[in-house]
């Protein structure tokens, strides 16, 4: 088994060099290491100037998504061993502007999340003192899968439409809209339709399905988009044609 692995990291430090460049490091191989451990080794022992985001190291905070050998992954749950004998190429997530090294611009994604109104919308809200809204396990399972998104943005880095049409609202945001649309406590679908059925919305999607392949939480954004195209659009047209009808 290899004792050392070469890690090639795409560096970009705008104050020093206007162009990105690959820098190669050599790290010891350890069976229990994930890619993130190798990066932390580089930062602690070789080159403190390497910048990247990470936090929970258990696949739930969504910070550490990067391209590893051209595939978007969470580096905290991707084992180094998988890439032996190396070298391993690590780059920032595709289709996002890069701030520095492996750190990408996230504000655009955050705006897209906000645009789909990801909160419970009701005509009337009952006070908390009056108790919970009922939701059976079956009703919960209607949207549960879409509620598992950790906003890691891997699906954007895998989506060719995001690459071509930066304004495309994108897989995670659509899945999040569906998370609320399918929640029996919510009445806000019509308001979300304005965004999802707009020019930047679901019809941009060309059904490549890569978003669902790379999703670390099995949210299946592609399925969410498909389901929206079928039921969501029907309901929207019904509401336009029959504005006073109930959904």
């Amino acid at each position: 088994m290899a004792e050392k692995v070469k890690i090639q990291v795409l560096r970009y430090i705008p104050e020093k060099d206007p162009d990105p460049f690959y820098q190669e490091y050599e790290v010891p191989f350890r069976k229990e290491w994930v890619i993130l451990d190798a990066l932390n080794y580089i930062k602690d022992e070789i080159d403190g100037s390497l910048s990247y985001r990470w936090s929970c190291r258990m696949g739930v905070c969504g910070s550490c998504g990067m391209m590893v050998n051209d595939i978007p992954v969470l580096t905290c749950e991707t084992f180094l061993e998988k890439y032996l004998p190396g070298p391993v190429r690590i780059a920032p997530l595709n289709y996002f502007a890069v701030i520095r090294d492996l750190v990408v611009e996230t504000d655009g994604f955050m705006e897209k999340v906000k645009r789909v109104k990801p909160w419970i919308i009701r005509e009337e809200e009952k006070p908390a003192a009056e108790g919970e809204y009922l939701q059976t396990p079956d009703q919960l399972s209607e949207y549960k899968q879409y509620s598992m998104c950790i906003n890691c943005m891997l699906c954007y880095a895998a989506c060719p439409v995001v690459g071509l049409e930066p304004k495309f609202i994108g897989p995670a945001a659509i899945a999040l809209a569906q998370r609320y649309n399918y929640d029996n406590r919510d009445e806000g679908q019509k308001m979300r339709d304005d965004v999802l059925l707009s020019d930047d919305g679901i019809y941009e999607c060309t059904l490549v399905g890569e978003c669902s392949v790379v999703c670390p939480k099995h949210v299946d954004p592609a399925g969410a988009i498909q389901r929206y195209k079928v039921t969501g659009a029907t309901e929207w047209w019904t509401s336009v044609l029959l504005p006073f009808g109930k959904k």
């Binding site: 104050e15 602690d44 905070c61 969504g62 910070s63 999340v113 003192a129 939701q135 396990p137 598992m148």
Partner: protein, 583 residues
């Protein structure tokens, strides 16, 4: 926003986790005209609340009562809890949890659609609400998404706070470094709430995320606010070896067994009851965390633990629950074990060992989340309002974020409404801070070449050896002088990266300075408490001593010397100190 121009707000919240977001919504709902800002070194959904697994406690079922929740909490905390705070906590908990349900949190449900609850360690009734075993994740995302609908909530994402702005005897904002540009500037406010979470990274082996470096605790400490009860550090009994990833208490609540290398449910030897096939509340595997982690150490001493490449461990066995229960109730446990240990708990036992998990102590606050510095408030793990005493019960901390996050928001909003114009010195103070940071970290690399990672490692070692599950005067004194030495070494240490764009080496250096300050408060408080209580176990003082130590420790920073430790009484309302009984 806009009302005062840029970088000036009514209420400023540092930290965008559960407590910070709950506080932000409370401010927005208290007075929609107030400008409220959330400053965080990460995007809010990355906050460590996201990692919480098992659940959040609140009385909801007819067979339960507020008094029972209060008693479990107080006895679990070995009578170090302030009982007025606990009473407020258990009373406000149910409505806060329902409010979160209204905001969309996907709580697990009974067949009829009402809220489902599960048992949890140290609790005599089932009262832990859960969203499978990703409770913190769902709470955080529900709350974060809900904040998006409030226009007055302005966010400063990826701004790292380097100090509090104090002028005229009150806190008037923060100095923050924008990560993407390195720009250091003042963000003024009429009141500030610290919701920066814990400091598990002071220790080498922790469930805490990398970002949990005690920032808020250290900043408050540096302005002269006391850190309270810092000697009480919770070890969670079941972390995965090497990674320290938490295996939730829910695994035991659903019926998991802890077994030593003789395949024996060893907890029966430690006054925790007799083993039954099904889980019994407040017994055996459902005992409190401090006692379970201490039992592990005793098993280790008896030579009955396994030896692995990452230290000793015991087994957590959930196989008898069957695949269906595991998939429905603790799917994340299965996911984590498969991913990180390459084992499937449906068929194999899980290796586990105690791991640093939570700080019972923190910034000293009163029941309204106020600190001793006017204008400064704190909530969540960063704070110590004293509901957790000497040992927190599992599933109380998520609820605490809601109850005291909301209280902090309301208090800070009231304080902001009453205050006069902010000081005109804030810009000048921020300028001084910028110069201090640049001088301290960006100069003299050539002659001072020590890496900050070396200092961090030595801090880890000395904290584990000296201030771990069992402590002695000698071990603590050793650690005290080591921490002092490390502080001096960090003082004369520069970083290699002298750029301004997303300089994570600079952030790591400042975080390390925060952790060293927090570490000294932990050690000094532990050294001065010559008794054993809850999570604080002194081998040289093994008994609880209510005569002398039914008091909170208050550690105050002292320039260039060890902190000064003072005491104040524990508030007792209806539950006089008694023996902790389990089993």
């Amino acid at each position: 926003m806009g009302r005062y121009g840029p970088n000036l707000h009514d209420v400023l919240i540092v930290g965008g986790g559960g407590a910070g977001l709950r506080a932000a919504i409370a401010v927005a709902e208290t007075d929609p005209n107030l400008s409220v800002a959330v400053v965080s070194k990460v995007y809010p959904m990355r906050s460590h609340t996201v990692s919480a697994e098992g659940g959040a406690a609140a009385v909801i079922k007819p067979d339960d009562s507020l008094d029972e929740h209060a008693y479990d909490t107080i006895s679990g905390g070995d009578w170090m809890c302030d009982q007025d705070a606990v009473e407020a906590f258990v009373k406000e908990a149910p409505e806060e949890m329902i409010q979160l349900e209204h905001w969309g949190c996907p709580w697990s449900r009974e067949e009829d659609g009402s809220i489902a609850v599960r048992p949890f360690g140290g609790m005599v009734k089932k009262r832990t609400w859960f969203a499978a075993d990703k409770t913190g994740f769902h709470m955080l995302h529900s709350m974060f998404q809900t904040t998006l609908k409030y226009d007055p909530i302005r966010r400063y994402d990826e701004y790292f706070v380097t100090s509090l702005l104090v002028d005229d005897g009150r806190c008037q904002g923060v100095v923050a470094l924008e990560l993407s540009t390195g720009k250091i500037e003042a963000i003024g406010a009429r009141s500030v709430i610290l919701c920066t979470g814990g400091c598990g990274n002071v220790f080498p082996f922790t469930t805490n995320a990398n970002i949990k470096t005690g920032d808020g605790m250290a900043m408050a400490y540096r302005t002269g606010v006391a850190l309270k009860d810092m000697e009480f550090v919770q070890y969670h009994p079941t972390g995965l070896p090497f990674t320290g990833i938490l295996i939730t208490e829910a695994a035991r609540a659903e019926g998991g067994y802890l077994l030593n290398k003789e395949n024996y449910r060893y907890l029966q030897d430690y006054d925790l009851g007799v083993p039954e096939e099904k889980p019994v509340l407040r017994s055996m595997e459902l005992g409190p965390r401090d006692r379970l982690s201490q039992a592990f150490v005793k098993e280790l001493e008896k030579g009955r633990t396994f030896e692995g490449p990452y230290g000793p461990f015991v087994h957590l066995d959930v196989r008898h629950l069957g695949k269906d229960v595991i998939e429905e109730k603790i799917p994340f446990v299965r996911e984590l074990c498969r991913k990180y240990e390459n084992i499937d708990p449906v068929h194999e036992m899980i290796p586990v060992r105690p791991v640093v998990h939570y700080m019972m102590g923190g910034i000293d606050t009163d029941i309204n989340s106020s600190t001793s510095l006017p204008g400064l408030f704190a909530a969540g793990e960063a704070a110590c309002v004293s509901i957790n005493g000497a040992n927190r019960l599992g599933s109380n901390s998520l609820t605490e974020l809601l109850v005291f996050g909301a209280r902090a928001g309301i208090s800070a909003a009231e304080f902001a409404s009453k205050q006069q114009k902010p000081s005109n010195k804030l810009e000048a103070l921020a300028n001084d801070e910028r110069k201090r940071i640049e001088k301290k970290y960006f100069s003299g690399y050539a002659k001072k070449s020590e890496r900050i990672s070396v200092i961090r490692k030595e801090m880890h070692q000395t904290m584990e050896r000296g201030a771990g599950i069992y402590r002695t005067e000698a071990s603590l004194k050793n650690s005290r002088s080591k921490i002092r030495e490390l502080q001096e070494r960090l003082d004369s240490c520069s970083i290699r990266d002298e750029t301004f764009t997303f300089n994570t080496e600079l952030i790591a250096a400042i975080e390390l300075s925060y952790m060293l300050d927090v570490a000294e408060s932990i050690i000094e408080s532990a050294l001065n408490r010559t008794e054993s209580r809850g999570s604080h176990q002194r081998e040289d003082h093994p008994e609880r001593d209510d005569q002398n130590f039914l008091v909170h420790s208050l550690a105050y920073r002292a320039e260039k010397e060890s902190p000064r430790v003072e005491y104040k009484p524990v508030t007792i309302t209806r539950w006089p100190p008694g023996e902790r009984k389990y089993g």
